[in-house]
Symmetry: C2
Subunit: 230 residues, 2 copies
């Protein structure tokens, strides 16, 4: 019987996934203006001080980024999609919107979005169970383990896995409530910029889904880039 | 400064809220065929064995019920709205749909729905922060604390607060992504029936929201009823 209570339920990532050991900048704190890669299929954590602005760049245009944010003082307080939706009274944030935690406090503001604004707040991060459902056998890189590993690389505990903000993921619900699974409509170089409203740790996973066309029609996972604006 | 890490952040429920001390049936296990009340503004937990069917009755027709389910062997595995939506590829479950956990296993099947089928999977349970946002001062009964109390009455720990299935809550997103806050369209006596697909603990909170018309145009919270079918 699989032990569902532990991460890496079906083995461990192989050596190509460095999410648990490679850290961006100095302990996750980036030099403003420096550009850092989130490698394809991997996750990284970034520390932000209140007022700092984080830009996530869709380098190749077709890549989904699963995005989380945790209060630095207590990772039990985090960006929460089910609190964000009723707070904004809409399914997707737009520039100018404050994004709230599970305690209904602003943790980030979305200050800029150069893309057509198609992001998802409805879908859990992929996990090993999802890949097994889709027919994959053995371990498969997944955003949930990337989150766990990226935080563990900074020594930060993760009490539970929140629903991510899925940047550029194109899974719009129709009026009848049915959802579609479509490639992103973003273009190479499109980016979103967040301003931190408290000291926080953000995590971005370059989604490793290669069994559905969620990362482009060719289903090839690619890298993302991040920078803290000067 | 409010300690956001603890429940009952702004005081404790007064003596009228018995969610932490009153238990349905024998330690939450109901005699099949017996009808039990979930009092207005309160929550109760119910233990179900795999195969048992739980009916939730909207006695007055206008009342929203926040609904959760946890694996009996591990409350870290629970009914999860962000896993349910992609699994069903739609926003709302319908009769015949299996409802999955955060580990993508079926925990319940929705076997029957006598109402028009308008339920919500998008909105977090109300909490003390929500009532303070709406202008209320001091403590206010809320579904999040009702969940905590109903589980604690059975001695069950709660690792995190999942997004509930909001039975009869009428907050449909429009095609443009905007959400409306509307009274329920259910009628007195409407009910939904779930079949347990594993041993589990369900929690139902008769939502105490009285500052928005989510529990009917008169914004008066009322009771619900539950029964385990013989």
């Amino acid at each position: 019987m699989i032990d569902f209570s532990r991460p890496f339920a079906a083995g461990r990532p192989d050596g190509t996934n460095a999410s648990a050991r490679e850290v961006l900048g100095h302990d996750g704190r980036l030099e403003p203006g420096s550009l850092h890669e989130i490698p394809a299929r991997q996750g990284r954590a970034i520390r932000l001080r209140r007022g700092e602005r984080l830009r996530v760049v869709n380098t190749h245009g077709s890549q989904v980024g699963d995005f989380w944010a945790f209060a630095e003082t207590d990772p039990g307080e985090h960006l929460s999609m089910e609190h964000l939706r009723p707070d904004l009274r809409k399914l997707r944030p737009e520039p100018g919107d404050a994004l709230v935690t599970n305690r209904r406090r602003a943790i980030l503001t979305l200050v800029e979005d150069s893309s057509p604004g198609v992001h998802d707040t409805l879908v859990a991060s992929c996990d090993i169970h999802r890949y097994h459902q889709l027919g994959h056998e053995g371990y498969h890189d997944n955003c949930t383990d990337n989150l766990r590993m990226a935080l563990s690389a900074l020594g930060i505990p993760l009490p539970a896995v929140p629903c991510p903000l899925n940047l550029w993921m194109n899974t719009p619900p129709r009026e009848n409530g049915e959802m579609a699974w479509l490639p992103p409509v973003s273009r190479p170089g499109d980016h979103v910029t967040f301003r931190a409203e408290m000291d926080l740790v953000a995590v971005i996973s370059a989604c490793p889904m290669d069994l559905l066309p969620i990362n482009g029609a060719d289903a090839v996972p690619r890298s993302l880039s991040v920078t803290v604006l000067p």
